[in-house]
Structures are given as structure tokens and as C-alpha cells.
Symmetry: C2
Subunit: 335 residues, 2 copies
């Protein structure tokens, strides 16, 4: 058997699968920013006409899947498996959504790193020959995340200056063997990194060391330097976390250049009341499957390293005085 690993924690797809289609569905605040032009569906009501934000989040995920399948003219029964995850306890958005489509389901939990985690697994299943078509899906919702991780929004708690704003939306990618311009060529699976930060209002700084670890591992495994990529995108470090990542990479001797961007910063540039940037599973999903993928299809980007970052903390571990374990998963997209 030909080895498909280049060493370390990076896997290489021997016959790189392609993104056959992808879809992004964005909430109202996400529709205010400059990125909105790249999204497939803009939803003016973050409740999506539902009674609870949990039900609303499902509608976002459902629509992302419907649009991705529809634009590829693929029926749910043609999809061999769906890799999905979200931020909610027991990833209930993903479970209920998968039920609705009747597709064999592999539930993932990688917090905001789920976009890269699910795309990595879906691509491995297609490249490995276990699936002809696999979906990679994720979502997040401002209200469901606030209720679960911080406070119900009805309490109107004052947000801190370092807070990030959870993105409301969903992204889906349909991965197959052919029929798409953008290939998934490699992936670097992250280790859990914990630098002792305990404040859930400091997610970007907590996640930056994980992003640095995965990017450094990826570059070491592949023998590349950051300039190989037209864009290196982190998931949701925000302005504070992105600056820390730059410092960490400079200290490691591989400084990031102008090709480095953060999805959390891009998402809410110029949008009021969003703190230091966006966060949540949908943050990297919307920017990757919207902005990056569409620009790749327009030949404006040919190589992208997407590094989705996740804070794996739980309210219970945090209440018990534990710090925030973080992870970053990277995927390489190439035309």
C-alpha cells in the first residue's frame, strides 16, 4: 500500500476528492458585513420563523444541505454519509437534521473546528473508497450558544471588550470523486492544546496556541513555508487572537505574511456590536465555503490553508475551575 501520510499529523489524499458543491446560509448580522456578497442565502430573521433558537439553528443547517444537494442535483439517498457537528450539547442540531435527511450519520464534536474536521473525514471517506458522496456540515447560532456557554440573552449581560460574537449560520460541502474545481488535497489533524486560560471571554487568545501548533506541524510535515498559500485562514481567533498567532509564528521562525486572514475578523468587519470578531462553527464554514471557495472557482485563489480553531471547553469544566482545551484542524484546498 502506498502511504498517504507525509509524516507527523498530516494526511495526504492520494486521489484528492473534490468539493462538488457547497452552500452557506447566514443570519441577519452576518448579512450586514462585506462578506455577505459571498453567501448563498441571507436570512433576515435569526429565529427563522421558529419558536426556539434551537429549532431555528436546525433550519439554517437544513437549508445549507438542501442548497448544496440542489445545486449538485443530488438526492439525499445518493449521499453515503454525513459528517456533522455543532456547538450544542449532544450536537442536537446535527442529530435532528441528519434524521430529517435519512443519511447515515457520523456525529463530530470539534467545537468551532468542526468545519475542517468534517471536511477532513468526508474527504478521507471518499478518497479511501468508502463513500461516493459524503457531506460535511456545521452550524452555529448566537442565541443557542449564548444560552449554553454564557448567559441567556434575556439577561442582557454586558459583553466584555475581548468577547467574540457567535456567528449565526450554517455551511455544507458535498465531497465526491469528480465534478468540482476545488480539490481537498491534505489535512492536518490538531492536538489538544491548553495554555491555562480559563476566561470564556478570552477564546481567541486561548485558541491561538492551538492554531500555531497545527500550522507549524503542517508546514513541518509538508516542508512548505507560509508563502506557499495564497491565503491562510484561521477560523475564529478574532483581532486579539490573530495578533497573538502572528507573534507565536514569528517566535517559531515562520512569520505569517499578508496572506494571513482570520474568518472571525473578516465576518464582521465594520459591523457594530460584534466585539473583536466572529466565532462559532459557522464562522470558518461561511468564510471558507463562501468567500474562499467562490474566489477559487473564479481563479482568484489557487491554494488555501484553512485552519479551523475550536475551544473544547464545557460550562461544567469551566465551573469546576478547569482551563480551556483548544484544537485547530487544517485542510488544504487547491484548484
Amino acid at each position: 500500500m502506498t502511504t498517504k501520510r507525509v509524516g507527523g499529523s498530516t494526511i495526504v489524499y492520494s486521489t484528492p476528492p473534490v468539493i462538488v458543491s457547497a452552500a452557506t446560509v447566514a443570519g441577519p448580522k452576518e448579512s450586514e458585513g462585506q462578506m455577505a456578497q459571498w453567501f448563498d442565502e441571507l436570512v433576515p430573521d435569526d429565529m427563522f420563523g421558529e419558536r426556539t433558537p434551537e429549532k431555528a439553528e436546525r433550519r439554517f443547517m437544513e437549508d445549507a444541505i438542501k442548497i448544496a444537494l440542489g445545486s449538485a442535483r443530488v438526492l439525499p439517498e445518493q449521499v453515503n454519509m454525513i459528517f456533522a457537528g455543532d456547538l450544542l450539547n449532544q450536537i442536537i442540531t446535527s442529530s435532528f437534521t441528519a434524521e430529517g435527511f435519512g443519511i447515515p450519520f457520523v456525529g463530530l464534536y470539534g467545537a468551532c473546528s468542526t468545519m475542517a474536521q468534517s471536511l477532513t473525514m468526508a474527504s478521507a471517506m471518499v478518497d479511501g473508497g468508502y463513500a461516493d458522496l459524503a457531506l460535511a456540515v456545521t452550524s452555529s447560532h448566537y442565541q443557542t450558544a449564548e444560552r449554553q456557554f454564557r448567559y441567556p440573552i434575556e439577561l442582557n449581560i454586558m459583553r466584555k471588550s475581548t468577547s467574540q460574537y457567535t456567528v449565526t449560520g450554517a455551511g455544507a460541502a458535498l465531497v465526491g470523486r469528480s465534478g468540482g474545481k476545488v480539490k481537498v488535497t491534505e489535512a492536518t489533524i490538531g492536538k489538544v492544546i491548553d495554555m491555562g486560560i480559563k476566561d470564556p471571554n478570552q477564546m481567541g487568545p486561548a485558541m491561538a496556541p492551538a492554531a500555531a501548533d497545527t500550522i507549524f506541524a503542517h508546514l513541518a510535515d509538508t516542508g512548505r513555508d507560509p508563502g506557499y498559500y495564497d491565503i491562510i485562514l484561521t477560523g475564529d481567533l478574532g483581532r486579539v487572537g490573530a495578533e497573538i498567532l502572528r507573534q507565536l509564528m514569528a517566535e517559531k521562525g515562520v512569520p505569517l505574511g499578508d496572506n494571513y486572514s482570520d474568518a472571525g475578523i473578516l465576518m464582521f468587519e465594520g459591523v457594530r456590536g460584534t466585539g473583536v470578531g466572529g466565532s462559532g462553527c459557522a464562522c470558518s464554514a461561511l468564510i471558507t465555503y463562501g468567500f474562499i471557495l467562490k474566489r477559487m472557482c473564479q481563479n482568484e485563489i489557487s491554494r488555501a490553508l484553512v485552519v479551523a480553531t475550536g475551544a473544547l471547553m464545557s460550562p461544567i469544566s469551566w465551573q469546576q475551575g478547569e482551563s480551556i482545551p483548544c484544537i485547530a484542524n487544517a485542510v488544504v484546498l487547491e484548484t
Copy 2:
């Protein structure tokens, strides 16, 4: 490329990976039953000397990994990735444990189906050439599960006659290309099935239709009948759920014979105060990696179909009046 799928939702490993080593760590109640003879470590204190049950659960998982690696003489840095999941919100047991070993981490959420889900993915990564060695790990703990899903045990709520008892323990399997007697040959990934049951004291009945769906799909995909297997083991249906599964399979025209067992029933046979049987991620993990695997190594079993069942409900969805979505994932073990 040779297709590795036989159709439907069953994947076939082209060069079946092997279980290089496995380990089971069981709590005090689990040590009282007849299955205890098959477990590697019996822990008399369910708190494992820790201050919180959440920390205790981690110790169970850590020990399972240590024993599995130790008996294979493999160092953590030789393992390419770890697939792990548990019942706790944000699978915090798995995240913290993965951090301690420094192995690239893919977090899964399949509730009590995680044992088969993680083994399926670890096997795919080895067979697909993406990993030389991959770990599949899961755990559960009576106290952490009660606190999260029902009531803190301090409230001393009366248990119902249909209640199951969450298994305290952890199981780990190290999957590789060679060096083991038991092969992982196939896997059937389940769909989410929801029959409208809303009572969290009725988990077995809620999960039985999912088990029936996956077993039926597996048999249809492979063209086999239940008699092909020396043992068909469901994860944690308990006495009530197992009886419902028998009825459902008989109605589908493929009745299960004497080769059918349920891990939840086996786990606590003759152990007082355990309701209709065990449940939790560790239930199928302990019985599979203990009882089944060791009997396979002793040539007493040569073909096993392990169908790990999971209830994907969340306390919040349940409080919002939603029913319990369930799943069952199957893996085939052969010598």
C-alpha cells in the same frame, strides 16, 4: 479504484485492519457481575480518588489508553490519531484525555454508539492508509451521566422500573495493519431514527428501532442472515429494548436467534439495583473489548456483529418537548 462499499450504508475494509490491543477499565458495580472476569482493570472506587466524578471518568479513560498502548508496547507519539467520545457535554472527558496523551484528536459524538463509531473511523483511517496506528476510545460514568441527563444523585430520585443503569468504565482499542488476531472487516453506519418516544427512562425501547434498522441494512447490504454470526451484540438496549428488537426483526422476516445478546443485559446480570440493564458508552465497549475480543482470541468466537446503540437526546431538546433521536452503528469483527 476498487470500490470498498458493498452498497447501502455498509463499508468494507479492503485490507481489514486488526485490533492490535484493547483494554477495559471497569467501576465497582461493573466488577460485581459475571463479566468482570473479562475486564483488564477493576476499580473499587468509582471516584478513582478524585474530587469530582468528571475527573474520575477521565482517569478511567486514561487507564484504558495506557493499558492498550502498554500491552502493544506502543508510545503515544507513535499513534497517528485518536477517535474518542463520551456522553458529557462537549465530550470533555475525551478532550482532556486526548490533551494528556498529545495525540492528534478527532472528537466524536454518538452517545452510547461511540464504541462502534470510533472503531469504524479508526479502521477506515488505517485501511485507507491515513494512519499506521489509530486509537478508538470511549467512556461513561454513572454519576456524571446522572448529573447531566437526569438528576444529581444527591437528590436520591426514585428510579423507574424501566430505567437502565449507566456503566462506569472505559474501553480502548488500538487499530493497526498487523499484529493482532481479530480483524475489523466491515461497518454499517446508522441513520438517525426517532419513533417519538420522549421519556428518558425508556432509552432501550427508544433505541430498539434504530438497532433494527442498522441490523436489517447490514444484512441486506451483505446478503447474510443473522446465523452468519456467532454473536450479534447490541450495545445497551436492556431487557425491555432487547425484547422489542427481537419483535421488530421477526416482523422484518429476519428473526434473531440464540446468538443474539445485549451488552446492557450481560453487564449487570445478577447485580442488584441496576434496573433493566446497563447503558452508557462504556457498556458496549467493555463487553466488546473484554468478553467478545478475548473469546475471539481464545477461538471461542470467530464472527461477531457488534451493534452499538445510542440515544442522541439532549436535556434541552427533551425539555423543549422533543422526542429522542437514536442511532445504531455496527462493526464486524472476525478472526
